[in-house]
Amino acid sequence: MSVRTNTRRLWSSLLCCATALAQNSRAFGQETPSLQHTHEHVAASEEVSSEAAHVPPAPPEHPIHAMPYREMAKMMQMDDTEPLGRVLLDQLEWRHTDQGQAALWEGEGWYGGDYNKLWVRSEGERVGGSTEDARVELLWDRIMTRWYSLQVGGREDFGNGPPRTWAALGVQGLAPYWFDLEATFYVGEQGRTAARLKAEYELLITQRLILQPEAEANLYGKSDPARRVGSGLSDFDVGLRLRYEIRRELAPYIGVAWTRRVGASGALVRAEEGSASDVQFIAGLRVWF
């Protein structure tokens, strides 16, 4: 087949001879380097069909060199592996408790790409100028399934009593019906074990007025009287917060929380404070950036 084959005629012949299609198509690819000129000739004819009107582009005179993704992403200024970060102070709040005013925080921050993130979580309580029960966790977060990620890392308890260090393994994600779930298991020194479970939900009263029920529970494998922790289910905190998002990033809220020390922990607290259950009124701020 000549290099100067009229491509249109070639295609017509292909139509007539469907069985030879693949073979001819290869020949087309290999033997028509000056494709453009062929087409220009056709375009100049009286034909008005788009087959005649279409002119394929000439091959690039200065093609760019082949390059790995990294280099290409830099040149494109487009990189789907770009890491990002977020800090969420979910609860910065004041509670009216049996012991007086308490300030509580709960927040998290992450930095990373779509698959792997460095995750920091912290929560705690300050009463009368001293930090009570507080913890910070440093985790590696890896998305595992459509809705859940695995978290591995460590946790440090501080505040009231001696500090405790734990290794952490957990799951977090979005359960059906939009429940945010966190379940983390801990192994500490001297055979200590613990678990923390948390669930929250958001109910839109309006686009900006949002009711957020939340429940959290802590469990311990053995008692730690120095930190007023008994074995078994130690405490739970059920809260209902109503926030108004002035902006998505900034929302003051009011709420109510029922916090209760139970089991062996409850006995330890009751011995000191007289009551292990408390209904508290809350005012706070939710901020993220």
Binding site: P59, M78, Y115, W147, W178, I205
Partner: protein, 564 residues
């Protein structure tokens, strides 16, 4: 006042600057603008937003010297124009990009005609104003004689830094959606449809962790919609004398916004799509996807003003302009249409599957032979969808179990609205396909994503994870796109036309950017006659950034690296 200079663009009746000929000097730089009362910097060509209209002539060889006065690299891509691969303007694929202070000379022969556009292919410069119309006059003269000819370029402007918009979407994907369903909506639905129905509906969407109000990632909360660079208040105006034929070349140059366009009181005669002449079809309204182009002819018979109304798909705002006999005249601006909810069809499911209790979304792929499915639906659904393994991984939140062709579906929010709405099934490109061969093979790609994590991909693989697609030079192949996702994706293949197949497998229309609706399966032919490396991507700007992008390599068979 920095905004003062820009205000020219916001003034009604100003003709849009046009550059014509064969030699062009385009300078890319910053421009202070003020669309909302807040001064901002735009990225523009020759100090203009949109960039000047370029007028070329079919058959001419054009030279475009593009100089970069920005502090960052830039580029220009001639959207829909078939040019050699090194002239296509995609950094990293076509060329190295244009560094600050540099000039890149684009030079190529123009072998086609019609309405196109040009825009930056660097980072988010498209979002900050780097787009302009491109008109190529046919050698033999226009097919349709008109008295007046206007380009109507729609875009979405934000005072927010696009870097910030992208980050917000990544960390909180529903950030811009202020139309989610509330407790009040539940009670209203319970009242009108019954408690059971309202509850089942919430349960179904909640079970999938999908939001039926998720029509657009970025809304009017962040955007001011522009027509020819003019705000709705600025009211861009095109003049006409009654009885004249007026050609309106609609270009959607926005980054994230689908527009539904109509001109109350006028019939729209659609004569070309993506620069390709079509059998004229008369409609009341059309949806124009990001990067799509439609030429429309109108004949206003009355001596009055008409509003060009382009509402965003999520009904959070509109671009607006006026056709009027005299500048300063205005017509009534319609109310935004009610906001629609996504339906079962948009999920790629047959309609009667909606009420199936306890359906697990992850199980959908197993449900092709679902009991109770209507036989009639089976026919429309075509073959049951098969999905790549990566689609069952953590980066994809939904798959279409029974995607349907639905080329005659005007899409969510336009169905049964009492107006005649354009669909792809109405469009027939004149002259037939560019290549009459049957496809020698199919390449099936699924449009995939994870809304919560804001990850976008083809077949569950982001650009960084995917090998390039390889086409054999000269082959005619068929791309089969299945939208597993609940959003519209305008898919753009550089360098080669896409020839959309009708449901019966016949040639329908030729396009450079093809919208695949949620839950839709759409097939189109491609003739791989363009040697080199090309971009293939979703034209939703932040979807592309987040991974919905592939490199296509057209190479001679047997060449190094070629696959069988």
């Amino acid at each position: 006042m920095v905004g003062a200079r820009h205000l020219r663009w916001a003034t009604a009746g100003n003709p849009h600057p046009v550059l014509s000929g064969t030699e062009f000097d385009l300078e890319i730089g910053g421009l202070p603008v003020n669309f909302t009362g807040t001064p901002r910097m735009a990225t523009v060509v020759n100090g203009q937003l949109p960039a000047p209209v370029l007028r070329w002539r079919e058959g001419d060889t054009v030279t475009l010297r593009v100089s970069n006065r920005l502090p960052v690299p830039t580029s220009i891509h001639w959207h829909g124009v078939i040019v050699p691969a090194d002239m296509d303007g995609v950094p990293g694929i076509s060329f190295k990009g244009i560094d600050p202070g540099e000039t890149y000379v684009y030079r190529f022969r123009v072998n086609q005609s019609g309405t196109y556009w040009y825009h930056s292919h660097s980072r988010f410069q498209e979002q900050t104003g780097l787009y302009g119309p491109l008109i190529i006059e046919p050698r033999g003269g226009e097919r349709h004689e008109v008295a007046r000819d206007y380009t109507v370029l729609l875009s979405d402007w934000s005072d927010l830094d696009p870097e910030h918009i992208y980050r917000l979407l990544k960390v909180k994907s529903n950030y811009f959606n202020f139309h989610e369903r509330t407790v009040g909506d539940f009670f209203r639905d319970a009242h009108t449809e019954g408690l059971r129905q309202a509850f089942d509906d919430r349960a179904m969407w909640g079970n999938m962790r999908m939001d039926p109000t998720d029509l657009a990632d970025v809304s009017g909360y962040a955007y001011t919609y522009l027509m020819n660079g003019t705000t709705p208040t600025g009211n861009w105006t095109g003049r006409f004398e009654r009885g004249e034929k007026v050609r309106l070349r609609f270009i959607n140059g926005s980054s994230m916004t689908y527009f539904d366009v109509r001109i109350p009181g006028l019939k729209l005669r659609v004569v070309a799509a993506d620069g390709q002449d079509v059998e004229p079809v008369t409609v009341d309204e059309f949806r124009i996807g990001i990067a799509e182009v439609l030429d429309v002819i109108v004949e206003p018979s009355d001596d009055r003003a008409y509003t060009i109304f382009a509402q965003s798909i999520d009904r959070t705002g509109y671009a607006r302009g006026t056709l009027a006999p005299r500048v300063g005249m205005e017509a009534e601006v319609p109310q935004l249409d009610p906001r629609a909810l996504l339906t079962m069809a948009d999920m790629g499911m047959a309609h009667d599957m909606g009420a199936m209790p306890g359906m697990q979304h992850g199980d959908m792929h197993d449900m092709a032979a679902m009991p109770g499915m209507q036989h009639g639906d089976m026919h429309a659904m075509g073959p049951a969808a098969r999905h790549a393994p990566a689609e069952y991984g953590p980066t994809v939140d939904s798959i279409a179990m029974a995607p349907q062709s639905r080329l005659d579906d005007p899409g969510v929010g336009l169905r049964n609205n009492g107006r005649r709405v354009l669909t792809y099934a109405d469009l027939h490109t004149l002259g037939g396909p560019i290549d009459h061969r049957e496809a020698s093979r199919d390449i099936e790609l699924h449009l995939t994503g994870h809304m919560e994590r804001y990850i976008w991909s083809f077949n569950g693989q982001k650009f960084s994870e995917a090998e390039p697609l390889r086409f054999n030079y000269g082959e005619r192949l068929r791309l089969v796109l299945v939208n597993d996702n609940m959003m519209n994706h305008p898919i753009h293949l550089h360098g080669m036309w896409g020839e959309v197949q009708s449901e019966q497998g016949e040639f329908l229309l030729r396009k450079h950017t093809i919208t695949v609706q949620p839950g839709q399966r759409l097939a189109y032919w491609v003739t791989a006659d363009a040697l080199g490396h090309w971009a293939y991507h979703c034209h939703v700007l932040y979807h592309m950034e987040a991974g919905m992008f592939r490199e296509v390599i057209v190479e001679r068979m047997g060449q190094k690296g070629a696959r069988p």
